[in-house]
């Protein structure tokens, strides 16, 4: 098999090919290393590569495979979001405050993957502390979506590609020329965020699959923007131990993959009960792959009225109708449902998530780890300057919102109120489960938008609206998955979202698989990098 044939494999077919010795993990790993070396200067998906480690692990995997041994993911090269602590490998959450942080321990989710034989290629770019919807808040620069809009005049693409390579290189070195960078990004799109590196790497065949994380839509929105599959399981399914914390009651790990089958495979390894995370669920992990290919005959699929929003592109509504038709054809029963508090989910989230973030990020004080300022004399000086130098603009904004809503006099009016509204939102779903088994919605209110979108940059609320369809499941703790279902007029991917009952990832995967089969989504970005 050629290198490009190897990198195009799905995780499942690669694992099968390794087991049947059609190719070795060393060959597969080398193919990905070449692909990353070519693509990364343009796409900026990886913020650190661990190629020596990858070659060593691949060799060890080949030795196990030769003896007929090996785990579920033996020899499979993966990318890891820079949010997961990896022992001995720099982990920054793409923040300046963790610029030189090298964990002395491994996150439970990544340890589970290594225990199953997976190989790490490197750490993937993301919005700083997972706060963002476009990957533009990363300390290491934006990720570029492998997809390019067809309507954009591509006449000058080669010079654009050169300039983005230069801009990414400068940015990576900290020589950041903002204006030059903005200009060079003209014509390129965001892969979404916060797991933008994970989504771009999977879409561009720079890893077989990737870990990601989702606090308000950070797995599902980038998956939808890049024609990939992303699932956020039930809150508590995956351990949060060793994941850099953003909003602890909402953060949940999950994979971004090429297919629904691959998501089932990744999830199987990532989920576990862990005594190191007190919110980790002590429940059996079912065989997720067993749900694939099962019939949805008689399954009740809820279609929420409140997800029909004004100003949503007609193509997205049409895709939703198409999804409904596919499931109806497959024998599912379509049920109209109401989730009356949907419109309050985003404002509710933008109290709870910043409040938890302001508390979580108080740990970055420049004393025990992370950036410490070179200026200042007093203790307060050093706290304030270390934090102000280390954190980016969006992170500081959210810390301040969080501090404000938790401060004396506003705590009840904002924070406690939001916690009560959160229960109303969760109850909406509990009521809906009386009449349906899963919910089908669009994944995002638009296709991928331009990097450097000035309207979204100027108005934080406009950027926050990206998560309008995804954030409800974080508040309610439910599993949700984005599945690519079609392309818009500009040739950009659009996704549908399937939401399930607590702990019922099985039905989500089952319905996602039916949609995937019906859509026959085979689009790949044209290789311009």
């Amino acid at each position: 098999m050629s290198k490009s044939e190897l990198t195009r494999l799905t995780l499942k077919s690669a694992v099968d090919g390794l087991k049947s010795k059609q190719f070795s993990s060393a060959e597969l790993t080398d193919a990905f290393i070449s692909a990353i070396e070519t693509a990364n200067p343009a796409l900026n998906a990886y913020v650190a590569t661990t190629f020596d480690l990858a070659r060593d692990r691949a060799k060890a995997s080949d030795a196990r495979l030769a003896k007929g041994e090996g785990g579920r993911l033996e020899g499979a090269p993966l990318g890891i979001k820079d949010l997961y602590c990896t022992k001995g490998v720099r982990t920054t959450a793409c923040s300046g405050i963790l610029e030189n942080f090298v964990p002395t321990y491994e996150s439970t989710v990544t340890q589970n993957l290594w225990d199953d034989g997976a190989v790490m290629l490197g750490k993937l770019n993301m919005d700083e502390f997972a706060m963002g919807s476009s990957n533009e808040t990363s300390k290491w620069g934006a990720v570029v979506n492998p997809y390019i809009a067809k309507t954009h005049g591509n006449e000058d693409l080669s010079s654009l590609v050169d300039s983005i390579r230069v801009a990414n290189k400068l940015h990576g070195r900290g020589e950041f020329d903002k204006r030059g960078f903005e200009e060079s990004k003209a014509g390129f799109l965001t892969p979404g965020g916060s797991s933008g590196g994970s989504a771009a790497a999977v879409a561009a065949d720079l890893c077989l699959a990737a870990t990601a994380s989702d606090t308000g839509g950070s797995i599902r929105q980038p998956a939808a923007f890049t024609g990939t599959v992303g699932i956020k399981p039930t809150y508590g399914r995956c351990s949060r131990y060793g994941m850099v914390a953003f909003a602890s009651s909402l953060d949940q790990a999950g994979p971004i993959t090429k297919t629904v089958e691959d998501s089932a495979l990744m999830l199987q390894s990532m989920c576990s009960h862990d005594v190191k995370d007190s919110t980790s669920l002590n429940v059996p992990v079912p065989d997720f792959s067993a749900y694939l290919g099962k019939s949805v005959k008689g399954l009740r699929v809820g279609i929420p009225d409140e997800y029909r929003l004004d100003g949503i592109p007609a193509e997205i509504d049409a895709l939703w109708e198409q999804g409904i038709a596919w499931l109806k054809d497959a024998g599912a029963e379509i049920v109209r449902i109401s989730l009356p508090h949907t419109k309050y989910a985003l404002p509710c989230y933008y109290i709870i998530a910043p409040a938890e973030a302001s508390s979580n990020l108080a740990r970055y004080d420049g004393m025990r780890y992370g950036h410490r300022t070179q200026q200042g004399q007093s203790l307060t000086d050093i706290y304030e300057l270390s934090r102000s130098e280390g954190f980016g603009k969006e992170v500081k904004r959210r810390i301040m919102i969080g501090t404000y809503v938790l401060s004396a006099g506003f705590y009840d009016a904002y924070y406690v109120k939001a916690l009560k509204v959160r229960r109303r939102i969760a109850e909406d779903f509990t009521n809906a489960w009386n009449s349906c088994d899963v919910v089908l919605t669009p994944a995002t209110p638009s296709a991928a938008f331009a990097l450097g979108d000035t309207q979204k940059a100027a108005d934080p609320v406009a950027m926050y609206l990206n998560d309008v369809f995804t954030v409800t499941t974080n508040l309610a703790g439910l599993p949700g998955m984005a599945v690519p279902a079609g392309l818009d007029q500009s040739g950009l991917p659009l996704g549908l979202q399937v939401i399930g009952k607590p702990l019922d990832e099985g039905s989500v995967l089952m319905v996602g698989h039916v949609l995937e089969q019906a859509a026959g989504f085979t689009a790949k970005p044209e290789k311009w990098w």
Partner: protein, 95 residues
């Protein structure tokens, strides 16, 4: 309630962040925009609703009160900006 620059300055100080005057001015506008948008939560009737603090209601898990980990001084100070002999070196706080 509109946030003025003085309030932003106070919130920045509570957050242990130091921002220049120009940025404080801009932040007042941004925070007002976000908080204005959040005001719509007042439309929701939450009479008698218990605050929801966690997605999954579970009793706090307990374990036996025994030592299960430790002896990792070198690991703990490995990322310290300054350390000597297994101690963190911090600025002088007592005159």
């Amino acid at each position: 309630m509109a946030i003025d620059v003085a309030t932003v300055k106070k919130v920045a100080s509570l957050s242990r962040l130091r921002e220049g005057d120009e940025r404080l001015q801009a932040l007042a506008g941004e925070l007002n925009g976000i908080l204005g948008w959040i005001e719509q939560l007042n439309e929701v009737d939450v009479e008698g609703v218990q605050p929801m603090t966690t997605a999954v209601e579970l009793p706090t898990p307990l374990r036996d009160d025994v030592v299960t980990d430790g002896g990792k001084v070198a690991d703990i100070v490995a990322n310290a900006p300054k350390s000597v002999d297994g101690f963190f070196i911090v600025p002088k706080v007592v005159e």
